[in-house]
């Protein structure tokens, strides 16, 4: 397959980041230490999301995962209290 254009990759990253922040309590503030820490948290959350939806757990934002993230849904997080 041809490599996805860079813009698409950036869009996908943004989609994943926003989705995990909204529904999987991924913190976007300054609590993480450095890029690696943030990445590993994101991978953990992505894994949780893939497990929850019964997707293949690739720990990567593959096409199937992105498709589920783009579906319309309820705004209540799947994995965090909503008080």
């Amino acid at each position: 397959f041809p490599a996805a254009p860079l813009k698409m990759q950036e869009d996908a990253e943004q989609t994943v980041q926003q989705y995990l922040e909204k529904y999987y309590d991924l913190k976007s503030d300054g609590e993480q230490i450095g890029r690696n820490r943030k990445s590993s948290l994101m991978v953990d959350k992505l894994k949780q999301m893939q497990e929850f939806f019964g997707l293949k757990v690739t720990e990567k934002p593959d096409a199937e995962t992105l498709a589920v993230m783009k579906q319309a849904r309820c705004g209540v997080p799947d994995m965090a209290p909503f008080v």
């Binding site: 909204k22 529904y23 929850f52 939806f53 019964g54 293949k56 589920v68 579906q71 319309a72 849904r73 309820c74 705004g75 209540v76 799947d78 965090a80 209290p81 909503f82 008080v83």
Partner: protein, 365 residues
Amino acid sequence: LTEGNPRWEHTNLTYRIENYTPDLSRADVDHAIRKAFQLWSAVTPLTFSKVSEGQADILISFVRGDHGDNSRFDGPGGILAHAFQPGPRIGGDVHFDEDETWTKDFRDYNLYHVAAHELGHSLGLSHSTDIGALMFPNYFFSGDIQLSQDDIDGIQTIYGRSENPNQPMGPQTPKVCDSKLTFDAITTIRGEVMFLKDRFYIRVSYYYPEPELNFITTFWPNLPNGLQAAYEFADRDEVRFFKGNKFWAVQGQQMLPGYPKDIYSSFGFPRSVKNIDAAVFEEETGKTYFFVADKIWRYDEYQQSMDAGYPKQIAANFPGIGNKVDAVFQKDGFLYFFRGTRQYKFDPKTKRILTLQKANSWFNC
């Protein structure tokens, strides 16, 4: 269940609709919300009364964008609605995104369906991982709105059962590795095998060995649930689905126009045949076998007529597979017959059964 197990301590809850969407009449909104509450009251001791003004446990509103709570709406699509867990003040309240178009039919987004889901949160349920549950977080409209057994188990864990002597049961989502799994129908489609069960398909293909389970309506929104037979007529790239005395035809994801048709005028069945248990097109002969109770009918796809001499007993053409078939498909020259939890691999050339396996052997369990 929601973290901390929040619940209402009283069972006679009140609700108030604070404002109405312009997408529907007030009567339609009232009706959708009332029906959504009824789904939950039918399986619990909870009762819900509508009040027109003043205090209410559950306030329902249509709002857009930033609307003064901790979760702003995001315009059309994306987040459709949210609700708060049981509690005072904002607790239990339901907010619908007014930037969505709300409907009372299959078009996006059906208010009754979304309201029923959100009220689950208002009563203390969290999201379910069961794709067939109303509490699954993503919007799928499969035509019928009902609580699954997973939803019922959840809400009854919080509030107990209803006092109704007839306890309602909900549909269960098939589990692909359940050794008791049976099928309504199975067909090939463009090189893949699709297993049909209630509202769901399970799909396996050469490229994606992991089975995929989803609603049949995801592909074909106009097909009914509980299909009874299906087969692929590959020469015309057509798959035909049967339920009762009606059938539908599709090409890929496209539903063909003019369907459903009846099986009497299209295939020549007598009126005594009320439904078809299973069907399969045999490529080598150009014939389709229809299984009806303990008999088979043979239809010539090119002559478009039933073959003379039929119906026959199933055993006349397929010895050893018994006198009733749930589902059948052909792959790589072999026929695979399904009856209950059993599966027979049958060689049509030698007319012998080659192997006997569990029905769900295709799912890499």
